[in-house]
Amino acid sequence: MPWPFFRFLGRRLAALVVLALGITFVAFVLTQLVPGDPALTALGPVTSADPEAVAAYHAHWGMDKPLPVQYLTYLWNLLHGDLGTSQLSHQPVLNDLQHAIPATMELAFLSIAFAIVVGVPLGVVAAIRQNRASDHALRVVSLAGISMPTFWLALLALYVFFFKLDWFPGGGRLDPGTTPPGQITGLYTVDAVLHGQWSLAWDALHHLILPALVLAAFNVSLITRYTRSAILEVINDDYVRAARAKGLPERVVVIRHVLRAALPSVVTVLGLVFANVLTGAVLVENIFAWPGIGQYAYQASIELDLPAIMGVSLFVAVVYVTVNFVVDVLYGVIDPRLRLT
């Protein structure tokens, strides 16, 4: 690895630290604005009537200390890999995240793959048929796609494909009573394949498809629109005409030359796509009873489970920085002019 690459990596890690600090700080401040007391939700109405129990609860979770001390304690523990203990699950937050994150990632990867596989070709078609009927039709369809409430789409999909047709299961990651594969990556499909449990892999995939498709709807539209405008930016460039002058078939001109040139702009949208998936995951996981980070964040927010909220926030920061890092690396892979040498 060349030296500038490490410098680049270092800058990204520094950004991650700054962002993590900022995000945990904001999350911390927000949760301190709470008029309600987490002890009341956690202890239930009977126990919380007892001031001693409440005080004990506060002492146990370190809530009796001044706020800056609480925050610094959190950071100190974080440095040692301790994200605290969830007030809700009574498990270390790290432990909870280790289960929730792969569940969401499995959903996210399949959904994004699907969005790219469908969205990019649609965008290409819209661009090369610019201002013709198919372009106008795709514009309307893609606007419809970004206007569809994800949770409503999920409801419709469940009603049709689960309730009426029974093609797909109604929720969860596996059929009830099924033992998950031993955790390697945490992605059930991958783990099952790695263990050679083919029927289990199929079961996991079967559960994945519907929520992944629902989650992809918004991003298909988004990618279609970005691809279209990225292609229109380059389609009249000289080198495209040069490729045609060489007598290359139109398919090759469009894919190898036009799409390749448009790719950096398409890659740019990946950051947005990831953000959309996480947003959508909160709603989709809620409906599909998917035990992922979206559900975890939702539960944590409702119960004002501070360590869990901070854990989710940190995860968000890591995703944000990682996605941007990957996008930057991809730029270099795609465009030799941007390569670090």
């Binding site: 962002l19 900022g22 995000i23 904001v26 999350a27 927000l30 949760t31 604005l33 709470v34 008029p35 309600g36 090369i128 201002n131 013709r132 009927a133 106008h136 514009r139 309307v140 606007l143 419809a144 970004i146 206007s147 569809m148 409430p149 994800t150 949770f151 409503w152 999920a154 409801l155 419709l156 469940l158 009603y159 689960f162 309730f163 918004f218 988004l222 970005y226 045609r244 139109e250 469009v254 740019t268 947005l272 953000a275 959309n276 996480l278 947003t279 959508g280 909160v282 709603l283 809620n286 409906i287 964040a297 939702y298 927010s301 409702i302 004002l304 909220i309 989710v312 926030s313 968000v316």
Partner: protein, 296 residues
């Protein structure tokens, strides 16, 4: 272009011109029509709704019929009336919060762009922080912390929505600050405030209007999303998102979730049609392009 044809028949050329005039406008017309339609529904809800949105009718969960076009819900309330009254919640709130976010974001963005010194980095780093969060997660934490109700949901969405305006306006102010006519007015001795108000602001209007229109769509979605999660409007208020949420618990009564969802979808697509068409007109430089982040 399947294959670049050497010869274009005359007819094709004429058709292209005709479609250009016909297809770029209808989207705006359809969008405006639906949006105005929903606004009218909101205004005249009491006249249009066949029933009181809270009145119960037995038996519960009636399928759509002549008496109840959209059926009734698990408490026997008329879904059509609730959808109609829902417009009274979603639309004004969306308009209100977009207005707040636009005002807050534009002012902060303009200040950041105009007085670069310390204001700029503070505002910009704050927007970075907000952008790092997926909108709904931040909004969820904010509403949950402040307490789940409509007012806090609106507040939460304003908090996630303003940075877009701040960035766009800041960028425009920076580029306009170097524009000749602004320099000229400065040289002529206009005060900072005068320059900002008279020369800079009018030129921001186009892109900001486009953004705000598209954001109305986002706001309706996000508001419905928060209500769906139980963090926005509370029962028994007829809110579209929370109606869909109830619908997810009663699959067999498909009408309970389908119609409120359809209401959200049509209201949102109206503003997306409108905003997308407006962008072609008001924002030829595409300043607002790419800043349109999805929410729910």
């Amino acid at each position: 272009m399947s294959s670049a044809p050497a010869v274009i028949p005359e007819e094709a050329v004429v058709r292209r011109r005709w479609t250009k005039g016909f297809f770029s406008q209808p989207l705006a017309v359809v969008g405006a029509a639906i949006a105005i339609g929903w606004l009218l529904v909101a205004i005249f809800a009491p006249l249009l709704a066949p029933y009181d949105p809270l009145a119960q009718d037995f038996p519960l969960t009636q399928a759509p019929s002549r008496e109840h076009l959209f059926g009734t819900d698990e408490l026997g309330r008329d879904v059509l009336s609730r959808v109609i009254y829902g417009a009274r919640l979603s639309l004004p709130l969306a308009i209100l919060l977009v207005a707040l976010a636009t005002a807050l974001g534009s002012v902060l963005g303009a200040l950041a762009g105009y007085f670069r010194s310390w204001v700029d980095p503070v505002v910009m780093r704050t927007t970075d922080l907000v952008f790092a969060f997926p909108a709904i997660i931040l909004a969820m934490v904010v509403t949950a912390s402040l307490g789940p109700n409509v007012r806090n949901a609106v507040l939460a969405i304003v908090i996630v929505a303003w940075p877009t305006y701040a960035r766009v306006v800041r960028g425009l102010v920076l580029s306009l600050g170097d524009a000749e006519f602004v320099q000229a007015s400065r040289l002529l001795g206009s005060s900072s405030r005068r320059t900002l108000l008279h020369d800079v602001l009018p030129n921001l209007a186009g892109p900001v209007v486009v953004l705000a229109t598209l954001d109305l769509a986002n706001a309706i979605l996000l508001l419905a999303g928060l209500s769906f999660l139980g963090l926005g409007a509370q029962p028994p208020d007829p809110e579209w998102g929370s109606m869909v949420a109830v619908g997810t618990q009663y699959f067999q009564y498909w009408w309970m979730g389908t119609f409120p969802g359809l209401a959200i979808f049509t209201a949102v697509i109206a503003f997306n049609f409108l905003g997308d068409s407006l962008r072609d007109r008001l924002d030829p430089r595409g300043v607002s392009r790419g800043k349109h982040q999805g929410v729910a």
